[in-house]
Each structure stands twice: as structure tokens, then as C-alpha cells.
């Protein structure tokens, strides 16, 4: 099978330098990685014009982010590339943990059927970026993707931002109402604004290699503590499409990153894992890991998302997935503000909700990294005790930590959500659970296919969904979708009404439908003064 072919994207002289038509852009996005591209598409779906600036002209080199979670796939599906990703990606849900030469336990991430998206797929970041770039081309009037346009200055104005941009044809200024910084862990925007990026640095170095090999390993995540082939360290093996395998090897604190990248050192390490099988090296990198975040993500008209806002160690796949969820949370809020349907105060909830998520991701990934890289003898003793006990004792398996895999953060109790009532189903703050549904025309689809992008009242069973301006209605039951396997009722309850946000999180639920109660929950979910909502209605 052919490997991914890197091809540069064409640079075009921007209109500011070619004498073409220019004007203020509502939105500038810095960085055409997965997060910036996803943000552009989400905003375009809301009808917002976007200029994306990227200092490079290719997709990412090397596989980088490879594990895409169910939640990210649901978001990508809403953006229009989810099915393509699943078709190309390697679907997996089983992880195995080994200590020395024996398996201590296995876990299954999604033993439940009836979800459109699998628990995880592995797909190289360059494919994801490539699909996103192609998807951007579906919005020629809304998305202006500018390669080899490097941000060199940011001036914050009262009602916007002026970005200074360097190109092969010279520099120009781009005025925008808002700027989203999606320019990664070494964010230039963050540096230009002089923002502190505080957190924890881990000293151990890790080797990450993409290896092409025709041998078949199962589509599972394999993690070793102290394996015979790499004594005293940890190792991780993941399968990717095109017969590429990701191998992560802990190297310890004293490893020399330049030396360790040399093929004469890497190849014997890989051979120790894969034995006599033939393989070739596709990409090698040596890392140390950090867990850091900005104090806040919204700085007036400059908003940070993804690695530019927060970085984690990779154990748990919380970097790329966290960034995609930032976009999911941010795009609808910005679109409502830009369209005049909500006040800029709504954006404070992006800080509130995504800082909670970033802290959760940092906590999990820091704990996993601590477990793998004990800092003291006592940490090592406890770590080894937990691993040894895990073979015989279930409780200890819960303590062994090779990464707690990314799950969506609950927004329960935060200011946009309305609490209560206690009943069966999914609580406010959670992502609406998925389930199979059948349309009146007999077509099968999934519940999440019909939610997202707008605020929606989801009525299940015998409950009225009153008509309220700004709210779409989706019904499951008598006058709507059928619930062929009973999984909508099992996961969401019966005779219940949900207010679902454009990011598919549940803002409120009702067992008794009152237009006033629903309108109040909607107003709360967009931080609108209720009186103004009535006036708008």
C-alpha cells in the first residue's frame, strides 16, 4: 500500500499585496493544523467568513496525533469528514498491558453497540489535515486558506485585532474582528502577546517512531512496563493505516536526543520489538513532555485553542482530541456573537468550560506520565507494587496507569447548564448519547446525525416540544424518528425533553414541558438576559 504522499499546497499572493479586493475579515485563524482547520470549517458552517494563516505549505510531517476519540469523530462527522476518517483509520477498542513478558490485563473501551462512531481510531495527523483542507475547499466564499503566510505581529484594538503577516511577496496587515490562535505548542501568537504558559515539565525523554511493516499485529493498543526488549523502561505499540506502526519508547532522563534519533540507534531498538520482520523507518522523533496551560484562553479579541492554549503529555490521547473539543465549544459561541444573537459575554463560558476540560486532561496525563516515569525510589516501589498486584487483584488494575484515554469533559454545574430534574437518561452537561434511529421514510441513521450546529429541543416519547424562536425540534416517538432497538429510551429515558447545544452537549432537560422554563434555560445557555430573548421573540 502506498504511503501518504506529501505535496505542498499552492501559495498565492494575498489580495492585500496583489491589489485585489480586501476588507476587514470577521475572523482570522492562525495555524492550519487540525484545530485551526476544524475551527474554520465549523465557523463556515455557521456562515462566518474566515482567513486562515499558516507559515508552512504542507500537512504535518510524521504521524503526530494519531488516536482520535469517539467524541472527536462525532465532531468531525458534524464537520463533514468523520465517515472518511473512520473508513481510512484503524478502528480499535482493546488495550493490553504487559509487565515484563506477561500480560497483566486487557481492557475494552466500548463494549456497547449502537453508536455511530467507534471508541477510537488511529489515523495519522497528516491524513486528518489533508481531509480538513479538502473540506475547506467546499466553502470557497467563506474560507480563505493562506499558506506561507506567517504571523509576525499582533496588535490588539478595542474592537478587533490587526495581524502583521509575512509572505514570500512581502508583509501586509490583516484587520480582523477576532483572531483564534491555533498555532500549536510553540504558539507564536502566545509569544507575541507575552503570555505566561505555566505548568510541569517531565524530564524523561521518549522516542517516537513510525515504522512501516507488512506483518500483522492486531488492531489493539499494547503497552509494556519493563519489557524484556527494553528493560527498565516502558513501550507502546499502536497500529496505523498503510501498514505503519507507532512505537513509543521511554529512553530515560539522560538520553541524548540527537544521538537517539540516529538510525543506527533506532533500528536495533525496533528490531528488539518486532524481531525478524522486515520494516522501514518512516519518521523518528525524540520528545520530552510537558503539561502547561494559559491562565485563561480568551484575551479580549484573541482566543486560544488547542496546544496553543494547553499542552499535555500524549498518554491518554488528550492533546489533539482536547483541541478538537475546544473548537466544538468555541465556534457556535463566536458565530452567535458575530451574528448578533448573543453578547460577547457568552465567550467567558469558553474559558469556564474549556479550562475545566484542560485541567482534567492535564491531571490525567500528568498522573499517567508520573506513573511511567517515577521520580523517586518510593514512587518506583509503589508503581511496581501496583503492577505486581494487578495480576491477581482487580483493584490494583485500576491503579496501573498507562494513560487514561480521552473522554469528553462533563460541563455539569457550569453556568450555561440548567440543573435537574433527577430522572433516568443523560444529565445536563454531558454529550448527548448516540443511538440508532429510523426516519419516517424507513431510513436508518443515528441520533447525533440530527443534532448539533444549532440549539435543538429533543423530545423523546410523549412530551410536547413547544415552538420557541431559535430552537429546532427533533422528535423520537410518535411523530418523529422510531427507536428501533430501544436504545434512545435506554440511554435518554422516556417522555423527556432535552435542550441540546450546537456542540451536542445537553444544556437542560425537562420532564414537564413549559415554554417559560425552556425559554429560561435557552437564555441561560447563551448568557442572554431573559427579557431580551422575549423581545427578540
Amino acid at each position: 500500500m502506498a504511503r501518504f504522499a506529501y505535496a505542498p499546497f499552492p501559495y498565492r499572493t494575498p489580495p492585500e499585496l496583489s491589489g485585489g479586493r480586501t476588507g476587514p475579515a470577521p475572523m482570522a485563524i492562525v495555524g492550519a493544523g487540525p484545530v485551526g482547520l476544524a475551527a474554520a470549517i465549523d465557523l463556515a458552517l455557521h456562515g462566518v467568513k474566515v482567513v486562515i494563516l499558516d507559515d508552512n505549505d504542507t500537512v504535518s510531517t510524521g504521524s503526530r496525533a494519531i488516536c482520535w476519540s469517539k467524541r472527536s469523530l462525532e465532531i468531525f462527522d458534524r464537520l463533514g469528514i468523520g465517515e472518511r476518517m473512520v473508513a481510512k483509520g484503524v478502528t480499535w477498542q482493546v488495550g493490553r498491558l504487559f509487565h515484563r513478558d506477561r500480560e497483566i490485563y486487557a481492557f475494552d473501551l466500548l463494549p456497547e453497540q449502537g453508536h455511530k462512531m467507534p471508541a477510537f481510531i488511529n489515523l495519522q495527523q497528516y491524513y486528518v489535515e489533508h481531509y480538513l483542507v479538502e473540506r475547506c475547499a467546499d466553502f470557497p466564499d467563506l474560507i480563505d486558506l493562506r499558506w506561507k503566510n506567517k504571523l509576525i505581529g499582533v496588535a490588539r484594538r478595542k474592537d478587533g485585532v490587526v495581524a502583521s503577516v509575512e509572505t514570500p511577496d512581502g508583509t501586509y496587515d490583516l484587520a480582523a474582528d477576532w483572531l483564534i490562535a491555533c498555532d500549536g505548542a510553540r504558539s507564536r501568537t502566545r509569544e507575541l502577546l507575552g503570555l505566561d504558559f505555566a505548568g510541569q515539565v517531565f524530564e524523561d525523554r521518549f522516542l517516537i517512531a513510525d515504522v512501516e511493516m507488512t506483518a500483522e499485529f492486531p488492531s489493539e493498543r499494547w503497552f509494556w512496563f519493563d519489557p524484556p526488549f527494553h528493560q527498565g523502561q516502558s513501550a507502546l505499540l499502536h497500529k496505523q493505516p498503510d501498514h505503519i506502526y507507532r512505537i513509543d519508547l521511554q529512553l530515560g532522563r539522560d538520553a541524548d536526543p540527537e544521538e537517539e534519533k540516529k538510525p543506527e540507534l533506532v533500528i536495533p531498538r525496533i528490531q528488539a520489538i518486532v524481531g525478524d520482520r522486515e520494516f522501514s523507518l518512516d519518521w523518528v522523533s525524540v520528545y520530552t513532555f510537558q503539561c502547561r496551560r494559559l491562565d485563561r484562553f480568551v484575551h479580549d479579541r484573541v482566543i486560544f485553542a488547542g496546544d496553543a492554549a494547553h499542552v499535555v503529555s500524549p498518554f491518554g490521547a488528550r492533546g489533539g482530541n482536547g483541541g478538537i473539543q475546544d473548537v466544538d465549544n468555541l465556534a457556535w459561541k463566536l458565530a452567535m456573537v458575530i451574528h448578533g444573537n448573543a453578547d460577547a459575554a457568552l465567550l467567558a463560558s469558553y474559558d469556564e468550560e474549556r479550562i475545566r476540560a484542560a485541567d482534567e486532561n492535564i491531571r490525567h496525563s500528568a498522573r499517567a506520565t508520573n506513573f511511567m516515569t517515577p521520580k523517586s525510589d518510593m514512587e518506583r516501589i509503589f508503581r511496581n507494587a501496583a503492577i505486581e498486584l494487578a495480576a491477581d487483584h482487580g483493584f490494583a488494575r485500576r491503579m496501573v496507569n498507562s494513560g487514561r484515554l480521552s473522554l469528553p469533559c462533563s460541563l455539569a454545574g457550569l453556568s450555561l447548564q440548567t440543573d435537574g430534574p433527577d430522572c433516568a437518561g443523560a444529565a445536563p452537561g454531558l454529550v448527548c448519547p448516540d443511538a440508532p434511529v429510523t426516519g419516517a421514510d424507513g431510513r436508518n441513521s443515528y441520533l447525533l446525525d440530527h443534532l448539533g450546529g444549532s440549539f435543538t429541543l429533543l423530545a423523546i416519547g410523549d412530551i410536547e416540544a413547544p415552538s420557541i424562536p431559535g430552537l429546532d425540534i427533533v422528535r423520537v416517538g410518535k411523530r418523529g424518528f422510531a427507536d428501533p432497538e430501544g436504545l434512545v429510551a435506554a440511554r435518554l429515558g422516556r417522555d423527556v425533553l432535552y435542550l441540546v447545544r450546537p456542540d451536542q452537549h445537553i444544556a437542560a432537560r425537562f420532564v414537564a414541558s413549559t415554554p417559560e422554563g425552556i425559554a429560561a434555560a435557552f437564555a441561560r445557555a447563551i448568557r442572554m438576559n431573559p427579557k431580551r430573548t422575549e423581545a427578540a421573540a
Binding site: H364, R367, N370, F371, S376, D377, M378, E379, F382, A386, D392, H393, G394, F395, R397, R398, M399, N401, R404
Partner: protein, 66 residues
């Protein structure tokens, strides 16, 4: 009737990572003697908390098994 002693079932309600992190945090910065002493105090406290001499003796045997 003798009930078999179950040492394996998780009873931490999904918060194992919180407990583990608290344990390591308590050891941070301690020298080996101080760490061993902390462990001894903790074991004695948990032994009493278990409130069941047979269970504690079974746990000691399980921990001693290599």
C-alpha cells in the same frame, strides 16, 4: 458461616487515581527512612480502619506472597 475474604474487588468507586496521587504526594521530598515510617503509620491506620482482623491477616498474606 465463613465468608471468603475478597481482597481483589475495587472499592474505590472510580477514584483510584486520586488516592494513588495523594499517596505519592505524601511521600514527596521524604528520605527513605521517613517514607518507610510514613508507610508504616499508614498501614497501621488502614489496618484499624479495615476493622476485621481476619481480613487484615489475609491481606498481610497476600502482600507477602511473591
Amino acid at each position: 458461616m465463613m465468608v471468603p475474604i475478597d481482597l481483589s474487588t475495587d472499592r474505590l468507586g472510580g477514584r483510584s487515581d486520586d488516592v494513588y496521587a495523594a499517596l505519592l504526594h505524601a511521600h514527596e521530598g521524604l528520605d527513605p527512612d521517613a517514607s518507610a515510617a510514613l508507610n508504616a503509620r499508614l498501614i497501621l491506620i488502614l489496618t484499624n480502619l479495615a476493622g476485621d482482623p481476619d481480613a487484615v491477616i489475609a491481606a498481610i498474606a497476600a502482600a507477602a506472597k511473591r
